[in-house]
Amino acid sequence: MSKALKGIIKIECKIRVLTGLHIGGSKENVEIGGIDNIVIKVPVLKLDEAIERDVPYIPGSSIKGKMRALLEWVEKPEGSMQVIALENKGEPCNCGRCRVCKLFGAHKNAKTEEPVRLRVEDFYPTEKTIDMWKKFLDGDFVEVKVENTIDRIKGTALHPRHQERVIPFSEFTGFIKIRVHEGDRKELFDTIIRGIQLLEDDYLGGSGSRGYGKVKFIKEKILWTDYRKQPFEEKTVDENEIANIYGA
């Protein structure tokens, strides 16, 4: 039985890239000597005054997936002393009752009817960022990093790997949305904030262990739409008011 939806909290965020970011795109059309690892791009991006093509973006699913993986190292399933990552032998939690399951959805589990609370939208570059790319990258939107694979014995460079990356100081904007249901507690919101912090301490995108993708989340504003009021009205709220939204 699903619990009634009270409303939606929207966190308007900016993601600032601190070290080169790589989120993998399609590997089609890779030619010999071409780019092995391209950044995911949206074919057409409409801006206020212009249309840009093949623009790098950050899929919401990448952010959500990484956040979940990180939270599973700190959150415990209900009734467990161990963190999820250890309890579940590396599989995502499917208890359906813990904070991670409530926010992200239980993994491969039909037993629960808990609605998925968290939705992360795709993040797109700001116009200022696109201008910076054009200026810095001579018309391109990404930089290409070449990595030499070293033959350990001969000490010589083998075939170099080419990788596209989004340059530091790039900024992307988008929304993180949290559904608030009857009976939900503020700890769900706090878990998201924790997830953001963990992400900032970790990496976004591929090749994290090789050192790409340090990002910073900048919370621009928090919006609250109360679905119990007619007509729906979206208003800006303070982080202190979140507790009131969830209720005691």
Partner: protein, 344 residues
């Protein structure tokens, strides 16, 4: 976000795979090398100049600069400038190996950096070296070095193979101003071949972040049963020992060659290496010695020699991992040495 500092003790070159050419990439004025944005230069050319360029394309291939043939670059067409630091009179700089760069600031200025992968590569090798040195029984003559490394640095956890170094994260260093770069002539000992390369100058400090606490915590939480866990956890000590061996070996090498200045350089370097703030050797021109496990080979050919056999070759022919030459600067400095220090 940065928790470590790298201090360069010698020039460092980390290539981005690109070679700048004197045809159209840079313009030398005195000792200053101005690297040009070709895009900006072309878009500023007049129609006359463009047709001139077209007709000159053939002569360009012979190494002439378009900036001599068409026109000198304007100030706003310069991407960045670096000083040419050479003792060679009237040097012919036809090509320069470019150092890896990214954006330095929101103004879109260029900055040089040290990739996290480069630093992690050394740390990983140091750990592998220490484990292998202390456990010669780990050598399996059917495997090459790469496979041995993969085997030793991973554990089985609940039927999954877990690569231990996955959790050890090194981010790219902060980008630093191109003022910290210079172009050096890198020469080969006992040879006249040389190469110009952009390097990060000696005595430059660069911040970097090494995610080691989370790594330690996860290894602890996982309750892994790798007997090499302690060595991995004490990675700084492994770096110290690995560097110590390289330094000793290099000192001996230059002593035999009678290159006193380099021998003395390594004598001084010994004192700068410590288990808390170890030295690392990174980037190009560091030579085979630190990339491979030649030191093990030298120490005990019987035990470790078979790691250096060519497994793909038909006759199991041995590859001699030792080299007779080194890359140095004109003023007799080796390249690639940095000191790693934890911040506060």
């Amino acid at each position: 976000m940065y928790n470590y500092r790298l201090k360069t003790l010698t020039p460092i070159h980390i290539g981005n795979g690109n070679k700048l050419s004197n045809n159209f990439d840079y313009f030398i004025k005195g000792t200053q090398i101005n690297v040009i944005s070709f895009d900006r230069y072309i878009s500023n050319l007049s129609e006359d100049e463009i047709s001139k360029l077209e007709s000159y394309i053939e002569t360009l291939e012979k190494g002439n600069s378009i900036f001599d043939l068409i026109r000198k670059p304007k100030y706003e067409e310069i991407k960045y400038s670096v000083i040419l630091n050479t003792q060679t009179p009237n040097p012919k700089v036809r090509e320069i190996a470019e150092h890896i760069k990214t954006v330095l600031n929101e103004k879109g200025e260029y900055g040089a950096y040290i990739p996290g992968s480069t630093v992690k590569g050394f740390i990983r090798l140091a750990i592998f070296y220490k484990i292998l040195k202390e456990n010669a029984d780990l050598v399996n003559c059917d495997e090459d070095i790469k496979r041995t490394e993969d085997r030793i640095l991973s554990v089985e956890l609940q039927k999954q193979t877990l690569k231990l170094m996955t959790y050890f994260k090194v981010a790219d260093s902060e980008p630093i101003s191109t003022k910290n770069l210079e172009v050096r002539n890198v020469i080969i000992t006992n040879n006249k071949i040389s190469e110009f390369a952009e390097v990060i100058k000696k005595d430059t400090e660069i911040k970097i972040s090494i995610e080691d606490k989370e790594f330690q915590e996860k290894l602890g939480k996982l309750g892994l049963k790798s007997k090499y866990l302690e060595t991995i956890k004490n990675w700084k000590e492994a770096c110290y020992e690995f560097s110590k061996s390289i330094i000793e070996y290099e000192k001996e090498f230059f002593k035999k060659k009678g290159l006193v200045k380099l021998q003395n350089f390594y004598k001084d370097l010994e004192d700068k290496n410590s288990p808390k703030a170890p030295l690392l050797r990174i980037g190009k021109y560091k030579g085979k010695i630190s990339q491979t496990l030649v030191l093990l080979y030298e120490a005990n050919k019987e035990k470790y020699g078979c790691l250096f056999e060519d497994k793909k070759g038909k006759n199991n022919k041995n590859i001699n991992p030792l080299t007779k030459t080194r890359r140095i600067t004109e003023d007799s400095l080796p390249l690639g040495w940095v000191k790693l220090e934890e911040l506060n």
